[in-house]
Amino acid sequence: MKIQEILQEIYKIDDDMKNYEKELEKIIQSFIKEKPEVNIDKDFVIRLKNKLMNQEISPREKTKFSFTMPNFVFAGAGAALMFLLMLPFVVDFSTFNKTNLSQNDSWSARIESLQKNAFGSLSSITNSQDGDEFALNESARSITNADALEASDDIAPKQVIRTEEAVGLGGGGTMGADTVSGKMIAPYYNEIEYVYTGDDFDLEGDEDLVYKRVRSNAINNILANGISNVGGGLIDTSNFSDIQVNSLNLVETKEFGYSINFNSYDGAISLYKNYQTWPNVNNKCRDEKCFEQNRLSIEDIPSDDKIIAIADSFLGKYGIDTSVYGEAQMQNDWLSYYERAEDKDNYYIPEEIQLIYPLEIEGQTVYNEDGRASGLTVSVDVRNMKVANVNSIRQNEFVSSVYELENDENKVIEYIESMGNRNYYRGDDVEVNKVQIQLDNPEMILMTYYLYNEEDGSSEELFIPALLFPVVNYEESEYLYGRKYVTVPLVKEIFDEYYQQSTQDDDFIPRPIEPMPLLDREDEVITEEIDEPAKVENDNE
C-alpha cells in the first residue's frame, strides 16, 4: 500500500516511470524492509528533557512595523483603493521578523507541479521566439553585438558607410567620426571558432523540471472593478464590459519623486524617477562647455559596495520582496571599456549604474540566453546617490513540469564546436581574421525561454535547464564577440532542433553582415558619376 502510494506520487510528474513499475516496487520494498531499527537511550531522553525544561523561553514580542504611504498623486478616485489592494503583491510584511532559522517555505508555496510535458511542445519550429535570436545562433550574435560597436575607437572596428554607398540607404550622408578623417572600409571577415577547453563533465539525468511563470489576473479584475465608475463626467465607463486594466501609473510630485507603473499584462511593476521632480544640472546649459563641465568623472563613481548598499536600502524601505533573488551583481561592462580607452578624459562616464538581483528558482540561478543574470534590475543615479529605477518587480509564482533532457555530453560539445561561422561563403581572396572562442567547464543553470503563442500573439516566460559555458579568453575576443558566456539549452526538443541546424553540412550559408575595420585611404575610391539631368524641352517654345 505504501509502495503504491509512493509510486503514484511519482507517476504524477513522470508517468513514463510506469514502464518500470515492477522494478521500482522491488527497489522501494527493499529499502523499506531494510529500514534500521534505531533504539534511543532512555536516559539520554530524560537528561535532555530536563535540560530543556530549565531553559527560559522569552515570550514573543508583538511584531511592530510601519508602512509609510508614499506621497503619491492619484490618477483617479478609485486609484487609492487600487494601490492598497495591490500592496500584498509588492510588500512582504513577513520580512520584518526574519531570523537565521527562517523557514524554507518559499518554493513549496510558489511552485505548483503539473504533469509531464504540461506546457506542450517547446520547439521553436512550432513556437516562434519573441523576437530574439538565440545565443546558439552565432551569426546573429556577431551582427548585433552592441558592446563591440560601442567600444572605444581605437579598439573596436566601427561600421562606416562611404558617401557613395549611403545614397539610397535612406539615412543620407555618412556616419561616424572616422569618415571625417578619411578612413575607408576594408573587407575582412571574422571567422569564429568555438573550442571547449574544459574538463570532462557528466550530464546526469535524462529529465528535469521546466518552470513557467504564472500570470495572475487578480490584479486585472480588482483594478477593473475599482475604476468601473471613474469617468469623471466625461465618459460613462459603466457601459464598458469585460474591462481589464493593463497599465496604471502613479507619480510622486515631491522632489526626487518616483513614478510607478503597474503593468498587469506583463505582471510586472516598474519604478523610475519622475524626471520632472529630479534636478538636472544640464537644464541650464546653453553651450558644449557647460555640458563638458557637468560631466561626471571616474572619481565621482562610488564603490560597488556603496552602490549596492543604496539599492539594498531602497528595496528594504519600500518592502520590495527579494526573497527569491540572490545578492546584487554589478553590471560594470562600461568600466572595462573605460579602462581600455586611450582618451579617458573624454570617455563618457554613465550617470546611472545598473545592478541585477538574479532570480533563483529552487537554488538555481536564472540567466538570459546571452549568459547575463536575469532578475530584478536596479539602476542607481550616482550623481544624486539615489535609486533611479527598479524593473521587473513581480509576483514570483510558477508551475513546473518534467521535460526530457539531452544528456549526451559529447553531443553537447559537438554542438558548441559546430557553432561559429566557418562555413559561411565569403568569396575568394578575402582576408579572414580567425577568432577562437575558448569555453571552460559548464555550470547547470536555468535559462529564460519565451514560448510564443501564435493564436493570441502572447509570450509565456519559461525557465529551462541549460548549461552555461564561460568564455576563457574573453579579454582577447571581447571586441569581436563581446559575450562572457555561451548558453546551451538542454531540453531535448530544443537542443535537437539547434543541433540539427548547427551541424548540418550546407553547401552555402548566406554571409552575415559584420562590422568592418578601417584602412587608410590608399586604395582607389570608386565613385559614381552623376549624369547631367536631361534637358526638358518646352513644347511651347
Binding site: 522491488k26 529499502f31 523557514q103 511552485i111
Partner: protein
C-alpha cells in the same frame, strides 16, 4: 490531544511545558533521522541535543502557515548534521556519514553497519539530498509536502529528485538483490 500549532503558540508565549510535549512527540523520530545519517550513538545524541536547544531558543521564529512544526524540526536537524560534518571535517562537500571517504577516520557503531548491510552501498552512491529525501519518504514516512519544506524546494522538485534516485538505483541494484528479496519475502522457495 493538542495539535502542534497550539503547542507552539503556547511555547511562544513562554509555556515550557508545551515544548516538553512537543519534545516527547518528536524526540525518537528526530533521533532516528539523525542516527541514520551519523551511524554513531554519541554523535547522534550530541546533534539531537543541539537540535532541540536551537528549537526552544528559536521557537519564536516558527511562523504559522509556513509549514508544519515537524518539518521545521527536521530542517533544523538536517542543517545541524550538515554543520557538524562540515565543521568537523573542514570540508564543505561532506553532509553526513555517507559522504565520508573510507580513508577518513570514521567512528561508527557496529550494529547499524550490520543493519544497513544490504542497502548501504546504494546509499553511498546517492547525493546527500537524494539520500535525505529517500530516508524521509521511505523510513520516516514524511509527505512530499513536508519533505519540500525541509529541503527548501517545491514538492515537484522533491518528487523529481526521488524519481531520479529510483532510476539510478534501478541501474545499480543487481538482479540477485531482487531474488534475495523475493526469497526473504517468501515469494519464492
Amino acid at each position: 490531544m493538542k495539535n502542534d500549532l497550539d503547542l507552539v503558540k503556547k511555547c511562544q508565549n513562554g509555556d515550557k511545558e508545551s515544548f516538553g510535549l512537543l519534545y516527547d512527540k518528536y524526540i525518537e523520530k528526530i533521533y532516528s533521522f539523525v542516527y541514520c545519517k551519523t551511524h554513531h550513538k554519541e554523535t547522534a545524541e550530541d546533534i539531537v541535543a543541539k537540535v532541540f536547544m536551537k528549537a526552544i531558543n528559536k521557537i519564536d521564529t516558527f511562523k504559522e502557515g509556513s509549514g508544519t512544526f515537524q518539518a521545521w524540526l527536521y530542517m533544523i536537524a538536517r542543517n545541524t548534521v550538515i554543520d557538524h560534518y562540515r565543521t568537523e571535517k573542514k570540508d564543505a562537500n561532506i553532509d553526513d556519514f555517507f559522504d565520508l571517504d573510507s580513508n577518513d577516520d570514521i567512528v561508527r557503531d557496529t550494529d547499524i553497519k550490520i543493519k544497513l548491510e544490504k542497502v548501504e552501498k546504494y546509499l553511498h552512491i546517492l547525493k546527500s539530498e537524494q539520500r535525505d529525501i529517500l530516508i524521509m519518504r521511505f523510513w520516516q514516512d514524511m509527505s512530499f509536502a513536508e519533505i519540500a519544506q525541509v529541503i527548501g524546494k517545491s514538492e515537484g522538485a522533491c518528487k523529481m529528485n526521488l524519481a531520479r534516485t529510483l532510476k539510478k538505483l534501478r541501474e545499480e541494484m543487481p538482479a540477485d538483490m531482487f531474488i534475495y528479496l523475493l526469497l526473504v519475502g517468501g515469494l519464492i522457495r
